[in-house]
């Protein structure tokens, strides 16, 4: 390396770029470098000079120290994405980078605070093909029993998860195509999930959280490569959906309350169970409470009522919010263990990122002061040759009024 910055971590640049949803080309334009230079910085063949590093820091809105800390190894456990098939790779990479940042924040916080002890039952399955639907029902029920949830509706799913020691991050991922992702970190042996806030309805976020819990409980021992085959991926997603249905709507209690599998009846049940009507139809089908043909008819009525876009009560039920990371930060500040500035230095992230990832009020980390975000500037064109007939404007003084 020549004239570079000692200790620069190329992998951190990749993570930062992906977190901002930028391509190498876009970053190159913003930093007035070539994309091949960015590529060399990222793969470690070269490191940026101090002024280039400063420019990266400004453009990506991250402190310089961020690029100097080696990336934390969270292990090879797969990251499960709950996303539509249409979600792009760049969107997935962005969400993955944001989850990693959340994990890093939690890791740093754990130097000072003890988070709730992890208490998550696990299914010992090393191949998704070994998991039967009856196993899924059983383990979903075990989760409920272990966490003292009984058989009724769960009043706050995110609180249940955080009580069980799972770290939940909820933020906008920039697209409605992505619903959530989850991962086990080997650093602290803790489960993490990121729930997308873009379509922030109560029932959707609860379903997303239960779905990710399904991955964490059922698929912890799966290898990353099992997610690359389309057939396997679909089945793994189906299993997570089954788990979510069984966890949110237990067969014993829910089925006895479905007095009529009609759409009107489901609207009444939605208010109590805080689960979407679509999910209830799927659950009724999986419990054999309706046959294929009737289910098809229901979906038709469902569409004709315009519920594919928005279901009744979506605006009335309040979305749930995570609290664990925000509380940890507030505790450290209130007890004067760490100041806001100390924490930002520890996290090596911008105040806006920390606030967003930890569900803190905007401006909390910057102590109420608005953060100055440097905007990209146009390239300097002063060296360009101006046309000869261009002259500078003459300043004319106005006449003074007596």
């Amino acid at each position: 390396m020549r004239n570079g910055t000692p200790g620069f971590q190329g992998s951190r640049l990749i993570e930062a770029r992906e977190s901002r949803g930028l391509t190498q080309l876009a970053l190159a334009e913003l930093t007035t470098r070539t994309s091949s230079t960015i590529s060399r910085w990222e793969n470690g063949a070269q490191s940026p000079e101090p002024d280039a590093l400063e420019s990266l820091s400004n453009v990506l809105n991250l402190p310089v120290s961020y690029f100097l800390k080696p990336i934390a190894d969270h292990g090879g456990a797969p990251i499960f994405f709950r996303s539509m098939a249409s979600s792009t790779q760049s969107l997935r990479r962005r969400a993955r980078a944001r989850l990693r940042w959340g994990q890093n924040i939690a890791m740093t916080l754990q130097e000072w605070v003890d988070l709730p002890t992890l208490d998550v039952p696990l299914l010992e399955a090393f191949d998704y093909r070994d998991i039967r639907d009856s196993d899924i029902e059983k383990i979903a029920n075990e989760c409920r029993m272990r966490w003292g949830l009984g058989l009724g509706p769960i009043s706050d799913v995110l609180l249940v998860l955080e009580n069980a020691g799972i770290c939940v991050i909820k933020e906008e991922v920039g697209s409605a195509q992505m619903d959530g992702l989850s991962n086990w970190s080997v650093v602290d042996n803790r489960a993490y999930m990121l729930i997308a806030k873009d379509k922030d309805t109560c029932v959707r976020s609860r379903m997303d959280a239960a779905h990710e819990l399904g991955h964490l409980v059922l698929h912890r021992h799966l290898k990353e490569k099992s997610l690359t085959e389309i057939g396997a991926f679909k089945e793994i997603e189906r299993q997570a959906f089954c788990f979510a249905g069984a966890f949110l709507l237990p067969s014993e209690s829910f089925s006895s309350e479905v007095w009529s599998p009609s759409l009107n009846a489901f609207v009444a049940l939605k208010e109590r169970w805080k689960t979407s009507i679509g999910a209830m139809i799927m659950r009724c089908r999986s419990l054999d409470m309706m046959d294929e043909e009737y289910q098809r008819r229901l979906w038709k009525h469902y569409s004709s009522r315009g519920w594919r876009k928005k279901e009744p009560l979506d605006d009335d039920l309040t979305p749930e919010s995570p609290r664990l990371l925000a509380r940890s930060i507030k505790l450290l500040i209130d007890e004067r263990v760490r100041s806001r500035r100390d924490l930002l230095e520890d996290f090596r992230l911008s105040a806006a990122d920390v606030e967003s990832l930890c569900c803190l009020p905007r401006g909390f980390m910057s102590n109420g002061e608005a953060e100055i975000v440097p905007l990209p500037k146009l390239k300097d064109r002063t060296n360009e040759v101006k046309p000869e007939n261009t002259t500078a404007g003459q300043v004319l003084p106005f006449g003074r009024k007596h």
């Binding site: 605070v113 209690s253 009609s262 009846a265 008819r297 038709k300 450290l332």
Partner: protein, 218 residues
């Protein structure tokens, strides 16, 4: 007076009405498919109505048979046609014609003869001085009411499926409710008898971080 709907709930199984709802949906869809497949445009509108009637009659009988009720298909008088009659204890159920709105059913002879059973709902006091003993309330006639909206509704599904209790002279409905509401009444009855629903558990907030103890702390 005994409420007619309560009589129905006490005598007819819930599954019968669940099936009616389900089959009427599919009967409408079948009729539309059949009309589209086999009938040419000029006759389609009329035949769609005929096919809906035929399929709904079949669905009515099927729902009753599956719910272990007695099903008859008597001839009309004067003879010329047949209609379906379902008997659940002392409740006699027939279908009204498919309507554009929930109006009175077509006053055919067979409907008139069955609606007379409901005289006890509206006893006629013929004598001002002496009380006339009302007819016994031991039998009831109910009609399955199905409507379709010719322009605004989706032609593959009914707009309304309900059960009506006609006045004895077929001048209107003494009671008319949607099957979904009737099913809700079954549910209410069931929940009264059953133990209370599983209540949502109040979750204790234990998502509270604790400061780590430092070595110099006691």
């Amino acid at each position: 007076m005994i409420e007619p709907i309560k009589q129905i709930i006490d005598n007819c199984p819930e599954t019968f009405f669940q099936r009616i709802l389900e089959y009427t949906d599919s009967n409408f869809s079948e009729a539309l498919t059949l009309a589209g497949r086999h009938i040419e445009e000029p006759e389609k509108k009329n035949m769609l109505g005929q096919l809906r009637h035929a399929r709904c009659e079949a669905g009515f009988r099927k729902a009753a048979t599956e719910s272990n009720l007695i099903v008859h298909t008597p001839h009309t008088k004067p003879a010329g046609s047949r209609y379906s009659l379902v008997v659940a204890n002392n409740i006699y159920l027939i279908r009204s014609n498919i309507q554009k709105h929930c109006g009175t059913p077509r006053p055919t002879a067979f409907r008139k003869s069955w609606s007379v059973l409901n005289q006890w709902i509206e006893p006629i006091q013929m004598d001002l001085l002496e009380t006339v003993t009302p007819p016994p309330a031991d039998r009831l006639c109910g009609m399955i009411v199905t409507t379709s909206h010719p322009r605004l509704g989706n032609p593959s599904v009914p707009t309304f499926v309900g059960i009506g209790i006609p006045w004895p002279d077929l001048s209107g409905w003494a009671t008319l409710i949607a099957i979904t509401d009737l099913l809700a009444r079954y549910h209410d009855k069931e929940t009264e008898e059953r133990t209370l629903q599983a209540a949502p558990v109040e979750i204790k907030d234990r998502a509270v971080p604790q400061l780590k103890k430092r070595p110099n702390e006691k």
